[in-house]
């Protein structure tokens, strides 16, 4: 039976049900319990976003608070994953990848290849990305392209509660390292989520709005803006096909190519900075594989090539807006 719950609740439920099912699943991160060793509540925080709240009471030391040492504990999660555990480690903000990146891209992501196919590293790194709450330059980045660039790591970006639960369970059960990226402005989005356990395979994009005029490709929070743009454009008779990628690596380019072959026009929306981004990645693949079908220049809607500004006034201009998406769609139509 499905209920209307938030992304926050959907992720918690995925943890709860997988931990119940599989004793090798453990969770770790800064303050994911919160209050370990302090005089107040045992799980005072349950994670920076309260995702883990309640799990400590049920699973005890299978949730681990960590010192502020991302290299050490994410590396430990990776090491434990090669020794039979299925750890989920939280990198509180994706912006912090710079203090632990080696363990992710030189270790976890490469083990299988370097070791001649003999390693399995079923680790999930859960993290939060994106701008929109005035958290400024070092707590608002998207950075998904950096992970997507690296072979050996899978990149997951859910946009709905249904996807969040199904993709998290898939991530935990997957035998490759996964970085699970949640947009910080999506936690309270609600949607129907089945009570039972289910998985969503990687590399299966979702067509979240159908149309024949223009293809819009996006992921995470931006997928919602793309749908919003499509709805507004529909009022003017413009029919957009909106594709929510759900996973960036592996990526479902078939669905994208098929759609572009039908519409002949492509707008890619990515909150990341533009250079070497997901937007440019998809554009390039389409320009290579669906060139003949293209009837207009590909449009990319991204953040500008600047850090994220603090001021809410500036941040508003920074993040790709529904309006900018509409403008880009109209631009492709005028061609």
């Amino acid at each position: 039976m499905a209920r209307n719950i938030t992304i926050r609740e959907a992720i918690r439920e995925a943890f709860d049900q997988e931990m119940e099912r599989d004793p090798t699943v453990i969770l770790m991160g800064e303050d994911i319990v919160g209050g370990t060793g302090s005089p107040g509540e045992d799980d005072a925080w349950g994670g920076a976003m309260g995702i883990y709240k309640g799990l400590f009471g049920k699973y005890g030391n299978r949730l681990l608070d960590t010192p502020l040492s991302e290299s050490a504990f994410i590396g430990a999660a990776i090491g434990a994953a090669t020794c039979g555990m299925r750890p989920v480690a939280e990198l509180m903000f994706i912006d912090f990848l710079g203090v632990c990146f080696d363990q992710i891209y030189n270790q976890a992501a490469k083990f299988r290849y370097m070791f001649g196919g003999k390693a399995e590293t079923p680790v999930v790194i859960r993290t939060m990305y994106g701008a929109g709450i005035s958290a400024a330059s070092q707590h608002s980045q998207t950075l998904t392209p950096i992970f997507t660039h690296i072979p050996g790591i899978k990149v997951v970006c859910p946009s709905t509660p249904y996807d969040a639960k199904g993709l998290m369970i898939q991530s935990i059960r997957d035998n490759d390292p996964v970085i699970f990226c949640e947009h910080k402005n999506t936690y309270s989005i609600v949607g129907d989520v089945p009570e039972e356990l289910y998985t969503i395979p990687f590399a299966e994009a979702n067509i979240v709005h159908e149309g024949d005029d223009v293809t819009i490709v996006s992921y995470g929070l931006m997928a919602h803006r793309a749908v919003e743009a499509a709805k507004q454009l529909a009022k003017d008779g413009v029919e957009c096909e909106v594709i929510d990628l759900r996973t960036l690596s592996p990526i479902d380019m078939e669905t994208v190519i098929e759609s572009v072959e039908n519409t002949g026009k492509l707008v890619v929306v990515d909150e990341a900075n533009p250079r070497c981004s997901i937007a440019s990645d998809i554009s390039a693949t389409v320009a290579q594989q669906a060139f003949k079908a293209l009837k207009a220049p590909i449009e990319m809607v991204t953040s500008p090539h600047t850090p994220v500004p603090f001021s809410p006034d500036l941040e508003k201009f920074y993040i790709p807006s529904t309006e900018k998406i509409i403008n880009s769609v109209q631009k492709t139509l005028s061609n």
Partner: protein, 327 residues
């Protein structure tokens, strides 16, 4: 140990008091304004920790450099960053210290030797080493001071910096502001060693622990370290044991704290109260000296908030400037 309980000149004491009180009033007002919902972003208050910043900064010159943390307002004020610009920055206005682009976690004023608050824990330590290294080439006797919390004292970039500073024998001071918590995580849980003196020893560096709520204790210990560093005596580490009055950030429900913990520390471990008690008891300053300063600060803070709330906001054109010096 100095026999005089308040071994500073009257002018210095007045300056120290002004520093601490300005920080306190600044933070108390931020606390109030944040609750109204007008202040954007993450805000971490330094209230309760003023004696550390002031005790150290009273030993510093303008050309000394400090690198700060996410909890940086106090360090900024003590290092001389202009208060009105700071408030405007918290509001994200274009006349803010960083023109609204940085916000609370990124206030910097390189002209004042303030290398920036920092949203990345431990990241300021290498930067302060850089300032200390530059001092060695410039031969100007300046020092680099890195502030860190107890949480950040477990971060690799900080730990590497201790070794680097000792190897290079640079004038770097590492100040661990140990307030007992990293967010909700207790220091006793997360830091594997009881005393930071031992952690410093592991990197061949002298370390000292002081009561960080006692301005004079901080001032004296820091003074010795800083003077030694200025003379080429190399780096050292100072642990200031202290407390924070508010939550980790504004909005933190603080359920990890013991019952009555906050009330108790406000009552018995308020560094400002302690300072007032010390200077008045020693008859170095009078209550009316302090009252005069209080009034000036009150005016300053009121003006700063009024002006900031009415200050101009950055416009879309500002979005694309300041990325590169030339491109």
């Amino acid at each position: 140990m100095n026999d005089n309980p308040v071994p500073l000149s009257r002018d210095e004491l007045l300056r120290a008091y002004r520093m601490m009180k300005t920080i306190r009033e600044f933070e108390e007002r931020v606390h109030v304004e944040f609750a109204t919902g007008d202040l954007p972003g993450f805000v971490h208050l330094y209230a309760g920790e003023e004696a550390s910043g002031a005790g150290i900064m009273m030993n510093l010159r303008k050309d000394d450099n400090i690198s700060s943390t996410h909890r940086g307002h106090g360090h900024c004020i003590a290092k001389g960053v202009e208060v009105k610009g700071m408030v405007a920055e918290l509001y994200g206005r274009s006349n803010g210290t960083c023109h609204g682009k940085g916000g609370s976690m990124h206030i910097a004023d390189l002209d004042m030797g303030m290398m920036g608050a920092n949203g990345i824990l431990g990241a300021g330590a290498p930067l302060a080493c850089g300032a200390a290294l530059a001092s060695k080439y410039k031969k100007d006797g300046s020092v680099g001071v890195s502030f860190l919390g107890d949480g950040a004292s477990n971060a690799g970039n900080f730990l590497e910096s201790l070794n680097l500073a000792a190897v290079w024998e640079i004038p770097a001071i590492f100040v661990v502001e140990n307030n007992g918590y990293a967010q909700s995580t207790s220091r006793d849980y997360a830091v594997a060693v009881d005393s930071y003196v031992d952690r410093a020893s592991g990197f061949g560096m002298p370390g000292v622990t002081v009561d960080g709520t006692d301005f004079f204790a901080v001032h004296e210990a820091a003074g010795e370290m800083i003077n030694r560093a200025r003379k080429g005596g190399g780096p050292s580490l100072l642990e200031c044991n202290m407390i924070r009055f508010y939550g980790h950030f504004e909005g933190d429900a603080q359920t990890y704290r013991g019952l009555g913990e906050v009330e108790e520390i406000r009552k018995n471990r308020d560094c400002l109260k302690k300072f007032i008690q010390q200077v008045t008891h020693a008859e170095a300053l009078t209550h009316s000296d302090l009252d005069g300063i209080d009034q000036e600060i009150s005016v300053l803070i009121n003006e700063a908030f009024d002006e900031a709330q009415n200050a101009p906001r950055p416009t879309e054109a500002d979005l694309l400037t300041d990325v590169y010096i030339s491109y």
